[in-house]
Symmetry: C2
Subunit: 247 residues, 2 copies
């Protein structure tokens, strides 16, 4: 099992993902929010690459069943029902709903990797579930970090490193690329306190300045949710055997 | 002084470098070879982005004064006088010569950053000289890692981390981005033995398989050359005050 990490979707070709297994990570906050929305009963999350497409897609669905969610440069998009804080995606808000989801980094990264044979979404919140599933799947895979505005972000690489570390505990024949080894090393150095690490990152500081400290606390919780968002037919749903996999 | 690191030139826009100070690193082997060629008396090195352009440029120069050098996927380009091993760039070969230089990663990264206000080339060989000069210059700068085939390479980020570490010893007000902090951490973890690190990287292994162990030994020597290649008017020359800077 070969594991590679891409630190940003910048310049990666959509077709390069064809036939691959890909894990998208955007700790702050898209992948944390997607995991939370699905855990709290959202029927599905439809990641989109532009605000225009979000509006277009939602227009074609039945009003009461659809919510527009996401952000542009940290702020909720005008006219959207929800922002990109996982704390907004409560059971009473999202249960049974289809979420059309646009964010500056995360949703675009998922759309970029849409030709993957298997495409999962990972955050600190569901890291252990994803690790166990990838070990059972036993295929080469690539971790696509969403990064921030197309550049490297510490929190995504530390999360990638923790995911790889969990996997190597369960499968000692995993082959790590340079970038995978770098992530494992960074997760050892910076991952002792996930919350402290998040607060020290470039993106974490911007979220703190914008009053999202509770989001950082929430996104730092390791493996509290036992679900795996899985991308198929352009929507993310809970992988049906998530629970079995993790027993 | 703000310091940022780009892990690969992939997707970076040429014009984004305009007005900036940039340091290009391609440890294996372009930046090590450029430093060696200039140290050994080459008049200048002309980095080019395509083999075709290398041939075109060399055709317009006086025969005896010009040498074509470089590689494509580790191998010397057919018809070129020199490959990309720093050990070929001996004083008796390069003294007084103009080297037209094409490589898979490094020369392309330099050409991509050509609009920089200041553009330097760094390797382990001249790391201390570059660090001292950047501290004296006291400007924000970006380190552009050439990477391998447009992706991350461990050796370039460890070299970047050592460069940043040297600078922060001399200037304690340097502000490090997420990627800069990651490089410093990686240089602490993997930089204890530069040679061992080089041998364990993806690119290092390929060079070992191709019989270039001596190159790895050579490229691992820390700060043995006291010169700084500086890019101006499309050619790299020794920065004239390199020696003063390092006294």
């Amino acid at each position: 099992m070969k594991i590679n990490v891409l630190f940003s979707p910048l310049g990666a070709d959509e077709l390069s993902f064809a036939g691959k297994t890909t894990v998208v990570i955007d700790v702050l906050r898209a992948s944390s929010t997607i995991v939370t929305a699905l855990y709290n009963g959202a029927r599905e999350v439809v990641p989109v690459a532009t605000v225009e497409f979000a509006v277009k897609v939602s227009g074609g669905m039945f009003g009461g069943q659809t919510l527009l969610g996401g952000e542009r440069q940290t702020k909720k998009v005008e006219g959207f029902a929800l922002g990109n804080s996982p704390l907004e995606y409560l059971p009473e808000v999202v249960s049974g709903k289809t979420i059309i989801f646009y964010t500056t980094n995360g949703s675009k990264a998922i759309v970029k990797a849409k030709f993957s044979e298997n495409l999962f979404v990972c955050s600190f919140l569901n890291l252990e579930a994803v690790a166990k599933h990838l070990v059972n799947l036993n295929k080469d895979f690539e971790i696509l970090c969403a990064g921030r505005n197309n550049y490297y972000s510490m929190e995504d690489s530390v999360c990638a490193g923790k995911l790889i570390t969990e996997i190597t505990k369960l499968n000692d024949s995993a082959e790590l690329s340079d970038s995978s080894k770098a992530c494992v090393s960074l997760s050892k150095t910076f991952g002792k306190s996930t919350l402290k690490m998040l607060k020290d990152t470039e993106h974490g500081k911007i979220l703190l300045e914008n009053g999202f400290e509770d989001d950082l606390n929430f996104c730092s919780k390791n493996s509290s949710y036992n679900i795996i968002p899985y991308f198929s037919a352009n929507v993310l749903k809970v992988l049906s055997n998530s629970e079995d996999v993790n027993k």
